[in-house]
């Protein structure tokens, strides 16, 4: 079967011996190459008109030193995911790197958006990238002594190397006065021209960075010369945590990464695990999943709309509370089905936690009734407002080529005219059965992003309406015994069922050996999970490709040359969630 794949034929014909191995697992093709061949092959994949793998989805890495059967292979592997925005075809390149001096040529020459993912690999795994423009630690402090995702690093219990003690000069003035500015000397970025420009430190505590984001801004008067985002204040090592817990337990971490759209992230993780296990989900669960994900998308966009208009108008503007009023309705539904408003953990690998309660349909119909009127109200308030238009039109522009090069996804990319939406490109959970449009705009500025998101809210309502009308009856948990518990009555008669029940509850389910990458469309863009399984009940390696992290790196590109007031709106328009950025 592998031989019939035209991509393989083409790559073999072009690069011949450079391709060391081709693997297929669950319909995903992996090419293994030497690190030096990655850049030419990736360039060919991107530029060949037939292949057209123009979107770099993810760059990540695996430490294979404890992977059964690979103990003697090169220790690390850098993994690249590409997708064709035309055909939806996906391909994975894998470059094994030896453990003693791990160096890989950087891919930032082809996709500048690989900058931060490569820095993340360097930070957490210790693989260096040759030719990378700015190879520094990104999530951890600059003086962190180790690379935590390496397998020899303990999972907890390590000494935390904070250099601060109460003897430090910084703390000596405690209780007497505010800290002396000279005690907290900040080092301006190397590229900054400190003689001519003012360096302004925005954040991590600032009203409009939407969380603990720090942006070091180089200012000429009020004009932004450069903006250097500094992240990692919320980093909590989800990927390391995942390696020590069972598959089904990781679901709570997906709630906490993108805490504004937990249902969608739940869904992404569940789909990835289900793909790894190869199980089928009953139709009722699939439809409810779609409803929940779209409700969550509405809630997330409402929060974005409110806060981003607040960025321009101040807290006394009424729209923020209007949006919160509507979001409340959705959060009530989330609470109704899952018991939690923010960290839902409702969609789980294998199905849903429980079926929806009887009043669910009525409550969702309520939403469908009230929302169109309310969205029209917001549009009256904002869309044609001349002040809002002047604040957003032509500001924070990204061209389609720039957005693709920076690996942007979600409304950021769609506002530039490319309709990349995973619900259409690689439909999951039955999205192919719904009639909806992917709203795009062409300007690529803040206003275009605003229009896209507002239109997306209307499309979500359409999807929910269709899903609710065709809500089938049936179970909400998979019947596949690899993941599903045996029914209660079987436990009375069958010893095997009891043993199976016990094993599933204590050990957890065990997927086969292999690796998969699966994506869903989060409100912010592409949410991907890369899971490597070694056949045990714990993930061997789990990587989250989060939209906020990748989208945030274009801040500088968008804010350069604008005013400091625009920078605030630009950050707002990316719609970041810092939990999603830092993980």
């Amino acid at each position: 079967m592998a031989q019939t794949n035209p991509i393989i034929e083409k790559l073999r014909a072009r690069f011949g011996n450079a391709i060391q191995a081709v693997d297929e697992f669950r319909g995903e093709t992996t090419f293994t190459l030497a690190p030096k061949d990655v850049v030419p092959v990736a360039g060919f994949l991107r530029d060949d008109p037939e292949l057209h793998f123009d979107h770099l989805e993810d760059v990540t890495s695996v430490d294979r030193s404890r992977y059964p059967g690979l103990e003697n292979a090169p220790r690390f592997a850098v993994v690249y995911q590409f997708i064709s925005t035309r055909s939806g075809e996906r391909i994975r390149l894998k470059a094994p790197v030896p453990g003693d001096n791990p160096v890989v040529p950087t891919i930032t020459g082809l996709w500048p958006g690989a900058n931060w993912p490569e820095r993340e690999i360097y930070d957490l795994m210790g693989i260096k990238f040759e030719g990378h423009p700015d190879l520094r630690r990104i999530l951890l402090p600059h003086n962190w002594p180790n690379h935590p995702l390496r397998k020899e690093m303990p999972r907890g219990g390590e000494p935390v190397p904070f250099s601060m003690t109460w003897e430090d000069e910084e703390f000596r003035s405690f209780g007497t006065q505010i800290i002396e500015p000279k005690a907290v000397q900040t080092v301006p970025p190397k590229q900054a021209d400190t003689n001519r420009h003012m360096i302004l430190n925005m954040g991590p505590q600032h009203p409009s960075t939407h969380g603990v984001l720090r942006v070091i801004v180089e200012l000429d008067g009020e004009r932004v010369v450069a903006a250097y985002p500094d992240i990692g204040y919320l980093h909590s090592g989800f990927e390391k945590q995942a390696e020590s817990i069972r598959y089904k337990d990781f679901i709570i971490y997906t709630d906490r990464s993108d805490y504004v759209s937990s249902m969608c992230t739940n869904l992404g993780y569940s789909l990835a695990v289900e793909k790894l296990m190869g199980v089928e989900i009953p139709p009722r669960a699939q439809v409810i999943r779609v409803i929940m994900a779209e409700l969550q998308r509405l809630a997330s966009h409402l929060l974005w709309l409110g806060t981003s208009v607040m960025d321009a108008a101040g807290v006394s503007h009424a729209l923020l509370m209007y949006c919160f009023r509507e979001r409340e309705q959705i959060l009530d539904i989330l609470e109704l089905v899952s018991g939690a408003r923010l960290t839902t953990s409702y969609i789980r690998p294998g199905g849903l936690w429980h079926d929806v309660p009887p009043s669910f349909v009525e409550r969702v119909q309520d939403v469908l009734r009230t929302f169109p009127k309310r969205i029209a109200e917001y549009e009256r308030m904002v869309t044609d407002n001349p002040v809002w238009k002047r604040r957003t039109m032509g500001i924070g522009k990204l061209t389609q080529a720039q957005a693709q090069a920076m690996c942007c996804t979600g409304p950021m990319l769609r506002a530039t005219g490319l309709a990349l939406d995973y619900r259409k490109l690689r439909p999951y959970s039955g999205y192919e059965n719904y009639d909806f449009k992917v709203p795009t705009a062409t300007e690529g500025d803040l206003y275009a992003r605003y229009l896209c998101r507002v239109e997306e809210m209307k499309q979500s309502l359409r999807i929910i309406d269709q899903a609710l009308k065709n809500l089938p009856d049936g179970p909400v948990w998979t019947a596949d015994r690899k993941m599903a518990l045996p029914p209660r009555q079987e436990l009375d008669t069958s010893m095997e069922a009891v043993i199976h029940h016990f094993k599933l509850n204590t050990e957890g389910f065990t997927p086969p050996k292999g690796e998969i990458f699966d994506c869903v469309e989060n409100p912010r863009g592409q949410m991907g999970f890369y899971i490597v399984s070694d056949g045990t009940a714990h993930p061997y390696r789990l990587h989250m490709r989060t939209p906020s992290f990748v989208n945030l790196q274009s801040t500088d590109l968008m804010a350069r040359g604008g005013f400091i007031a625009d920078l605030v709106l630009v950050i707002g328009s990316i719609d970041i969630v810092l939990g999603d950025v830092d993980r």
């Binding site: 321009a312 101040g314 006394s316 503007h317 923020l320 002047r390 604040r391 007031a565 625009d566």
Partner: protein, 335 residues
């Protein structure tokens, strides 16, 4: 020459005015929070006493008892001077605004204005201009980049918007033919109705300059919490912050009082001639209506960008106010 008329009565009037203004300020914050709450589909403050009427008092007490911090890297003298320089002019504006007709108390004719001077409008403009110093000095002395940006924005914003405001005032004064605010309320020669209507046409523009001059949303560029954290007052805490806060609200009251006097007949209303005390209530009601406009604007209009604000002033407001003044001059002379 009696000292009662010259010293005692003005002193009593000043004390009453200051007390009323400071309580008025406190309840203005309550009024604003309640209104903003209503605009935002919330209830607003309602914990302390009925309708949350105790909140302003609690706020004041809290502000006074907060620890007073003067950061060590500031210019201490200017840092302390800033709030004082800001609030004094804000109070002084009221000296010339007539809040009611002349009352007959204890056998004395008492006009309800502290200083009935001939240069009333000029006084207002001069004193309001001084208020900028308090903000700029405070922002500069804070030795903080956000404060500095806020202070710089303040100075250019105030300077720019004083121009169209002044020109619009000139036009209005051409019609009244006097700078004395008392005579503007009760003109010696009646002003024809078409000129009164013509004056009202200037009010929307005047209102915009008022928003900018008082630094209120959507033109709150001295503060702009979304960009500059709290602008010029970032480093201020406790009572010094409260003073700046008060200044802002006193400016609203002052600007509203002036606008009411110039455009809407001050304390005049039905039955004032029979019951002069009614004038006070009319004045208060008109000022409240004006304050309502301020708050309404802050709840419904997004903030423009800083350079857009200045461009709006110089390319739109300034020319239009010049044209308005010229037309007014012609109208006054010809008709």
């Amino acid at each position: 020459m009696d000292w009662i008329n010259l010293i005692l009565i003005p002193a009593i009037k000043s004390v009453v005015l200051v007390v009323v203004l400071l309580t008025g300020f406190a309840y203005l914050t309550w009024f604003e929070r309640k209104l903003i709450g209503r605009f935002q589909q919330r209830i607003g403050p309602n914990r302390a006493w009925k309708f949350g009427l105790g909140h302003p008092i609690a706020d004041a007490l809290k502000m006074i008892f907060k620890e007073e911090i003067v950061p060590s890297y500031t210019d201490k003298v200017l840092f302390v001077l800033g709030p004082a320089l800001a609030i004094a002019p804000a109070l002084l504006i009221f000296a010339v605004i007539p809040v009611g007709p002349t009352l007959n108390l204890f056998g004395k004719e008492i006009p309800l204005v502290v200083a009935d001077v001939n240069i009333g409008v000029l006084w207002v403009l001069a004193v309001a201009g001084l208020g900028t110093y308090g903000i700029v000095l405070g922002g500069w002395a804070s030795n903080n980049k956000y404060s500095l940006l806020g202070a710089l924005r303040t100075s250019s914003q105030m300077l720019s918007y004083e121009l169209p405001m002044g020109i619009l005032l000139i036009a209005v004064l051409l019609v009244y033919g006097t700078l004395n605010l008392n005579q503007i309320v009760t003109p010696l020669t009646p002003i024809p109705w078409y000129l009164r209507v013509w004056i009202l046409l200037a009010f929307p523009f005047y209102f915009i300059t008022m928003l900018a001059e008082t630094g209120r949303k959507p033109f709150d560029f001295p503060e702009t919490e979304n960009e500059l954290v709290a602008g010029f007052q970032t480093e201020y805490g406790s009572i010094k912050f409260a003073l700046y806060y008060m200044t802002e609200y006193l400016h609203i009251l002052g600007a509203s009082g002036l606008a009411v006097t110039l455009f809407f007949g001050g304390w005049r209303g039905p039955f004032v001639d029979q019951f002069p005390i009614l004038g006070l209530f009319y004045f208060a009601a008109k000022v409240l209506a004006m304050v309502f406009l301020f708050i309404w604007a802050s709840a419904s209009v997004p903030r423009p960008r800083y350079d857009q604000l200045l461009r709006f002033c110089w390319t739109f407001l300034f020319p239009i106010s010049l044209v308005y003044m010229a037309v007014t001059a012609v109208l006054v002379v010809v008709m």
